[in-house]
């Protein structure tokens, strides 16, 4: 067995001659060199001669090869781990997005039952009583006074407002943090603020209140507080 002093000479050789910098490679090479030296010494040669022979047999080139290859292997492991963790994060994100999208409560049914006519589409600039051109924030659905109006998605009644100006009698329902719907010009309202409603629940009856030129329902969908075209949510099912 090599003594401490001899082991230290091996360590010095590996660090200075072979220029091993990786601690793990160094540790393994110390044992390897020591084994080789010990075997030669058993055969009867001195430590000095044995270390010199071993050093020739296992050249700095050889140990450099080991170090380079092991670094590559370790790099690949780290890379794989990184890729794995990145893909895990990505997968989670995608999953959350999918679940999130699914969890969004989209107002995807029409606010009236049966066939309906849209008399004024979303986005149409139209002439209203003050003769100014404005963006139409929702859709107008032709409806006789007293036509039942239904909540287009599950939610909570955010606002019930009776007025003979602007929107007239209106209801605003918050569906989740993203969507809100607004129903205007109603003749009567059957819900009150903070009521929880389900998709398809009766909330009131259409009318001609407020700034309206004839009986109809003005229906808006707000996504994150901004008006969007309600038609794109209403699933064109065959019902």
């Amino acid at each position: 067995m090599l003594n401490e002093n001899q082991i230290n000479q091996v360590i010095t050789l590996l660090k200075e001659e072979n220029q091993i910098t990786d601690a793990m490679v160094l540790e393994e090479m110390i044992d390897h060199f020591c084994c080789s030296i010990e075997k030669k010494m058993i055969l009867g040669i001195s430590f000095e001669q044995a270390i010199s022979e071993t050093s020739k047999e296992i050249s700095p080139d050889e140990t450099q090869t080991i170090e380079t290859h092991i670094e590559k292997v370790n790099f690949r492991i780290r890379l794989k781990r990184k890729v794995k963790s990145i893909s895990a994060v990505a997968a989670t994100l995608v999953l959350l997005m999918v679940i999130g999208a699914d969890a969004q409560i989209k107002p995807d049914i029409p606010p009236v039952k049966g066939e309906f006519n849209i008399t004024s589409k979303y986005g149409t600039k139209r002439d209203i009583s003050d003769q100014k051109m404005k963006l139409h924030k929702g859709i107008d659905i032709r409806a006789k006074i007293g036509t039942p109006i239904y909540a287009t998605a599950n939610g909570k009644v955010n606002e019930v407002n009776f007025s003979n100006k602007g929107y007239g009698n209106k209801i605003v329902i918050s569906h989740d943090e993203i969507y809100e719907t607004l129903y205007a010009h109603l003749s009567s309202i059957t819900v009150k603020a903070n009521d929880l409603v389900k998709k398809g629940d009766l909330i009131g009856y259409s009318g001609n209140t407020g700034l309206s030129t004839g009986p109809h329902l003005h229906y808006e969908v707000l996504k994150n507080g901004t008006c969007v075209n309600p038609e794109i949510f209403i699933e064109t099912s065959d019902e």
Partner: protein, 119 residues
């Protein structure tokens, strides 16, 4: 790839993993130097593993989950032993079977060639 006084590098390329897995499945645990010496004596010096080939292979197999290591303090220095993991054991069986079958197939090819020539 590794020092071989008898055989060409091309011939032995790709066998090192199999050799390591085979030895470890027989011996249970081995350290680097031990493997080189074992191969040397088992092949009567016909196959000499160089350190530059052996150690990267050991680390690669470890990275692939086929080997696990155990460090033992041994006379003022640390000795690193390699063991087969469970997946290493099944990989060893697969590799060894594949290699034995390969040898048999080679024999078949060369024997049949010999018989054609002798006609």
């Amino acid at each position: 790839m590794y020092n071989c006084p008898m055989y060409s590098k091309e011939l032995l390329k790709g066998t090192l993993k199999t050799i390591v897995l085979k030895l470890l499945s027989e011996q249970g645990k081995m350290y680097g130097y031990e493997i080189t010496q074992h191969v040397k004596s088992a092949t009567a010096g016909k196959v000499l593993l160089t350190e530059g080939a052996l150690y990267p292979t050991l680390h690669k197999l470890e990275a692939e989950g086929f080997l696990r290591t155990e460090k033992i303090t041994f006379g003022g220095r640390i000795r690193k032993y390699y063991h087969l993991t469970d997946s290493g054991k099944s990989a060893a069986i697969t590799k060894i079977n594949e290699f034995e079958e390969f040898i048999d197939t080679m024999k078949f090819i060369f024997n049949s060639k010999l018989s054609i020539e002798s006609k």
